[in-house]
Subunit: 249 residues, 2 copies
């Protein structure tokens, strides 16, 4: 058995409150052959309780990256996945741990790093954080009490990844590199500016339009060429408008 | 979804040392629809730390059975399964959590209760205890560090049981009707007209641009609202350009 396929998977805890959960996460990861832990604004870290709960995985804690900014932390990733227990008003492509594991071993991230985000113990990920993700991940659980502990959720997801990456793999091929989260974020910002410039708003759902567009372009798993091409389209739109406007003077 | 199939599964912890692990086990079980916990000679129980780690599953702790004798506790069971991380000198039928789940849902216990035994944090189950089991259960884990925390092991096993007993469910849902091929075709035509109007062409692949855009919007599986929204965007772009152009005259 090899842990090779999993080297590029980052487990990202967003604002964890309890250092014990950070330690337990490190241990859960290491048992499933993962070592890259990113902590976004942890309440307490490092902490003796984290070390204690990590048991034989303190090396994962020692190598953990502490970040202030989530979007910066996930910038280089080819696929960003957010765990979610709630049903949202704007539904998102939702996968089970099993399906995620299968997609990843089919090469969904095209060799680029993958980030799997886990939210706060009390309240999970915010809508804004979930909107940064291409996929939402939901662990099957009893409707009576679906509230898995944070580190337990990491254990279940990494277990599925480990299980799948150590069975036969089949690589889906594509002719271009997948776009990174930073490239997609840059495109979304550009799109928003252009939409403002053309005065676009959706009268049926003025606030939801941008969320829907973000979701649409998030789930498409665009490659680099596609993002570059769409930004080219936006630039042409801007130039056409500005040129015409400049002619007025 | 129903938790019905799982009512006859007992989770048995043999001589757990840390009350925190007992609480975390109760929580793990309840998230996967299980409620019957048997504790054989726990070091400390009840204990405030168990209650704290159980979170919303203190009812499982309250109903837990404390037993002095393992063989008595598992007496009524039709199938006894022992978790094990080590390879034994005397080989035993060894199953993965996935296989166990499939066997149980195929009726391996013949309608009788099932006991799944988890051993001590430090040393697992003894050879004598493992010899009381019909099956040994091993969780796939990294050979570098296969040491799952006790409650984590319970979480993974109960997750597999839950998943299999509720496998008919499909969690992907969507709020709108998918767009028809005609709607998507109409959008692609509209996009092409707009691109001509803004003078867009991709210098690196002038002929391929439209093919790539068609592929991109083809694989996205857009819903009706999304297509309508994107056409709204195109209409706004056209109006912005024409309005400025008209102003020239």
């Amino acid at each position: 058995m090899s842990d090779r396929c999993n080297n590029e998977i980052h487990i990202v805890l967003v604002e964890p409150s309890h250092p014990g959960n950070i330690g337990a996460t490190a241990r859960a990861m290491k048992t499933m052959g993962l070592t890259s832990l990113i902590l976004v604004r942890p309440a307490r870290f490092p902490d003796p309780q984290a070390d204690w709960r990590a048991a034989g995985a303190t090396d994962v804690l020692d190598a953990a990256i502490v970040a202030d900014d989530l979007s910066e932390a996930i910038g280089p990733c080819g696929l960003v996945v957010g765990t979610s227990t709630r049903t949202r008003r704007v539904p998102w492509p939702l996968v089970s741990p099993e399906t995620l594991a299968r997609n990843l071993s089919d090469g969904a991230a095209g060799g680029k790093p993958v980030a799997i985000l886990f939210g706060r113990e009390s309240s999970g990920l915010t809508n804004a954080e979930l909107a940064m993700c291409q996929l939402h991940l939901q662990i099957p659980a009893s409707p009576v009490y679906p509230s898995l502990n944070l580190a337990m959720a990491v254990q279940v997801v990494t277990y599925e990844l480990y299980k799948t990456s150590n069975s036969a793999t089949d690589i889906l091929d594509w002719d271009r590199e997948p776009a990174t989260a930073a490239e997609i974020g840059g495109f979304i910002d550009h799109l928003q500016r252009t939409l403002e410039e053309v005065g676009f708003y959706d009268p049926r759902a003025p606030k939801q339009a941008m969320t829907r567009l973000r979701r649409l372009f998030g789930r498409i798993q665009m490659d680099e060429t596609e993002v570059a091409m769409l930004r080219g389209v936006l630039t042409h739109v801007e130039r056409s408008i500005r040129k015409s406007a400049a002619d007025d003077f």
